[in-house]
Assembly symmetry: C2
């Protein structure tokens, strides 16, 4: 059934994953929030369930993983918006606050986008066209093409937004809604 003969295969998996780890470390190194789950918890203190929204819009329907998001984008023909952030990064928190409280953005995201917010990088390098920083927002067309052309206003961090950039973000969302419709 499950012979141990596939040890080499498992080793390959391990090696693959070690490559993956080094990519992941880049983002995680910035964050100081990782210790959290390991701290001894007060016994019997009721924990609040973590949400997929992580505060970016509790009433929106968030996808959990990039794979799920890609699938839903393709099947619904809605563009995907991926938000990379970290829970203890002040720039991320400021952007989240502006994003969650902007009714126009929330409505547009709800109706016309597949949305995903991640505190961890994926293995798809197309999601970091100019580096793995947070916060950053990347759009993906339902044709599964990363919209590297939809950028914010910072030349050195092209996919970063600040709270004062909400109108630019809105206009970028409108841009992303115009699908590429490349012939397949």
């Amino acid at each position: 059934m499950h012979s141990s003969g596939d040890k080499a295969d498992k080793q390959k998996s391990a090696n693959m994953n070690k490559g993956l780890m080094s990519v992941l470390l880049v983002l995680v190194a910035i964050s100081s929030s990782w210790g959290k789950p390991d701290k001894p918890q007060m016994k019997k203190e009721k924990r609040v369930p973590q949400t997929l929204s992580r505060g970016w819009g509790d009433e929106l329907i968030w996808t959990q993983t990039y794979e799920e998001a890609l699938f839903r984008s393709q099947t619904t023909q809605k563009p995907l918006m991926v938000i990379f952030h970290l829970e203890e990064c002040p720039h991320s928190l400021a952007l989240k606050n502006a994003f969650a409280n902007n009714k126009e953005i929330q409505k547009l995201a709800d109706e016309d986008f597949i949305i995903l917010n991640l505190v961890f990088e994926t293995t798809d390098k197309h999601l970091y066209p100019d580096g793995q920083y947070v916060p950053r927002i990347i759009f993906v067309d339902p044709s599964l093409t990363v919209r590297a052309d939809i950028t914010g206003r910072y030349a050195n961090r092209m996919y970063a937004y600040e709270p004062s950039d909400m109108n630019l973000l809105l206009s970028n969302m409108q841009k992303a809604k115009k699908l590429l419709k490349t012939e397949l």
Copy 2:
């Protein structure tokens, strides 16, 4: 800055992702729950935020993605338990109910495991040693080796569990806690 010269690269991404799609379709084909987010929602009906636990233990600390889970497993040296399920699959629901209400399992999962529950397949084929069915539970050692040797009691679906299998699952969790500690 972001010249359109990388079209070939983007195309490569699209092709890669199309390969990914076919893998994902296998699992999704079983599920009838995908229509949900597209159904017209009653306006002004307050939505409840989705949780990462998805009902498998609201007080546990769930990771969001496989990448995050692997990283945390490696850094904490705790084994990873990945639960694949679907929200509208009666077998998944029955197992979830047994899992969430078993105090011993909840305690062990909380204290000694990195935990992840997914309604979508990942791209790591080592996570489906004998197919992409639900529910199934796969353990991964902190050395990033998938523990294909830790199985349930069904020869045709080796990583499936039923509500009556909670003692077997507990003993498998104990087994997973004995780390491989392979020399690197």
